[in-house]
């Protein structure tokens, strides 16, 4: 309990300070709502819209989840190839970097022309956004094995598949989770970007349409919903990580500031 207050107190203080200044600023200067709505207006609007926003968010989460699944799968398979086969790394890694540098957002309209106004353009964008951190971390993780353990396994005649399953995979798991913490938000952002240029449902569509109508409080209510979902997903990944990696040093609490590690990942 006391540690909970110690850890959650300061961030809540920071948020409260910002909300107060924001509220005071909009009231004192009488800032019109279409430029910057006061937090109190956003909260009221959020209460009104919560159910509708929740339904829209569910679609976005579905798109992001499918995209994340595909992206993680591509990342793991690609990293497994690269970690075992130098030519694959030499040929594929620069290509992966090119895909990463490419502004995916520019290709969304084209994807929609190809596939239509359905779920899949959003899933593809989310997958493109998420595969890179997983790939990079997995390549590092699959190689970061303990040399003694590797030599021991080789000396007892373990083949590459056994070494992969019993040693490399476990060594890579901490790296995979730290990539997942980045990727989970990237998948949400990817789904939103996919919805931006044409969607019938989704929280990105809500943000776009309220923005076009200059309905700022509706827009901020949707953004708040999204940020809350993003933070909740990050906490969820951190929780699963502590469950799965209970044996690894990175999940052990240590000293000051350790409680915020799940945030910075």
């Amino acid at each position: 309990m006391a540690t909970g207050v110690r850890l959650l107190g300061p961030p809540l203080l920071g948020v409260a300070a910002i909300v107060l200044v924001w509220e005071a600023w909009t009231r004192v200067l009488a800032v019109p709502a279409f430029i910057m709505p006061a937090p109190s207006r956003i909260v009221l609007r959020f209460q009104d819209d919560a159910l509708v926003l929740g339904g829209q968010l569910a679609w976005t989460l579905l798109e992001a989840g499918l995209g994340l699944g595909i992206g993680v799968l591509i990342g793991i398979v690609g990293a497994t190839l690269m970690a075992h086969w130098l030519l694959a790394e030499r040929a594929l890694l620069p290509l992966a970097v090119v895909i990463k540098v490419m502004p995916t957002i520019a290709l969304v309209p084209i994807l929609i022309t190809w596939i239509g106004y359905n779920l899949w353009p959003k899933v593809i964008v989310a997958a493109i956004a998420t595969f890179f951190p997983v790939l990079i971390n997995m390549v590092t993780g699959l190689r970061a094995v303990d040399t003694c353990a590797l030599e021991f396994l080789q000396s007892v005649g373990a083949n590459r598949a056994e070494i992969y399953r019993r040693l490399r995979w476990h060594a890579a798991l901490p790296y995979l989770f730290s990539a997942l913490k980045v990727a989970i938000n990237l998948s949400l952002i990817g789904a939103i970007v996919g919805e931006w240029f044409g969607a019938e449902v989704g929280i990105g569509k809500v943000i776009r349409q309220t923005g076009l109508k200059m309905d700022m409080s509706g827009m901020f209510a949707a953004i708040v919903m999204l940020v809350v979902a993003g933070c909740a997903l990050m906490v969820l990944v951190g929780w699963i990580e502590r469950r799965v990696l209970f044996w690894h040093a990175s999940t052990q609490p240590e000293g000051e500031g350790a409680g915020l590690q799940w945030l910075t990942g």
């Binding site: 850890l7 107190g9 300061p10 961030p11 203080l13 920071g14 948020v15 910002i18 279409f34 430029i35 030519l87 030499r90 040929a91 594929l92 890694l93 620069p94 290509l95 970097v97 090119v98 990463k100 540098v101 490419m102 502004p103 957002i105 520019a106 290709l107 309209p109 084209i110 022309t113 190809w114 938000n185 949400l188 952002i189 939103i192 970007v193 931006w196 240029f197 990105g204 943000i207 923005g211 200059m214 700022m216 827009m219 949707a222 953004i223 999204l226 940020v227 993003g230 933070c231 990050m234 000051e256 500031g257 915020l260 945030l263 910075t264």
Partner: protein, 260 residues
């Protein structure tokens, strides 16, 4: 010298072969299926488009480049400043880090239209978007870099009565430089994406505007040309950042190549 050239050449060949195979495959696919240009333009058509109006693409690329580099500079200064504050005080970290994470998980494209309303069709919305995207990696790497100093060197400096400022400039900042360059290498491509996002929501020039304009009119080959130009810019900027890193960090072990 010759050895290094050959080593570099050998590293470049496999990706180039793969890239050439993909480009060739696309060309054959488009020609064999007679795909209309608005669905998928042939690579040769994209190359011809870029070659036919280089001035148009160069002028717009310059606009985007200025926005991206300006935004990166702004984001780096903010990220480093906040990072230095957080590295110094755990309380500041506890207050500010969740806010920074909140900014990071917010899809910037969702809030970009607000900046257009605030700042109008000027360079500022693009700078702000690029800065918002780039500040986070700089921030986290600054915190880690400033904190992870060698304990014995720190004790030595303290025993010589070095002031906190001297410790900061002579030990902590040099120690943080490799982390900062790692963040900058991520940041250059992010800043380009930020500038394009800023342009997509409202601009009169820049490659993002070119893409927006062309995709509304279904001129797909222009969209691809702009994307190719942006990707090229991203690769060049990342290489520039790496080159500056090699110059500035010649003393650091991360810059020693493993085969020497």
């Amino acid at each position: 010298m010759a050895h290094r050239l050959i080593a570099r050449y050998r590293g470049v060949v496999p990706p180039l072969v793969l890239l050439a195979a993909i480009v060739l495959g696309l060309e054959v696919l488009v020609r064999a299926l007679r795909l209309p240009s608005y669905l998928l333009p042939a690579p040769s058509a994209v190359a011809a488009e870029l070659a036919s109006s280089p001035d148009y693409y160069l002028a717009n690329a310059r606009v985007t480049l200025v926005e991206a580099v300006g935004g990166l500079a702004l984001g780096s200064v903010i990220g480093f400043g906040l990072g230095a504050l957080m590295a110094r005080s755990v309380f500041a970290e506890r207050v500010l880090m969740p806010l920074a994470v909140g900014v990071r998980v917010t899809p910037i494209i969702a809030i970009a239209p607000i900046f257009i309303i605030w700042f109008g069709f000027t360079i500022w919305p693009k700078l702000v978007v690029a800065a918002l995207i780039t500040f986070f990696p700089v921030l986290t790497n600054t915190v880690v870099g400033l904190r992870s100093v060698d304990a014995r060197t720190l004790e030595l400096l303290r025993s010589l009565h070095a002031s906190e400022w001297e410790i900061f400039t002579r030990l902590r900042v040099p120690n943080a430089l490799p982390y900062l360059f790692a963040a900058l290498k991520v940041g250059v491509s992010l800043s380009l994406i930020g500038a394009v996002v800023g342009e997509l929501v409202g601009a009169r020039e820049g490659l993002g505007h070119v893409i927006d304009d062309a995709s509304i009119n279904l001129v797909t080959k222009t969209v691809f040309s702009a994307v190719v130009a942006l990707t090229g810019m991203g690769i060049v900027l990342t290489e520039v950042a790496s080159a500056v890193e090699r110059r500035a960090l010649f003393w650091h072990e991360s810059q020693r190549s493993s085969h020497q």
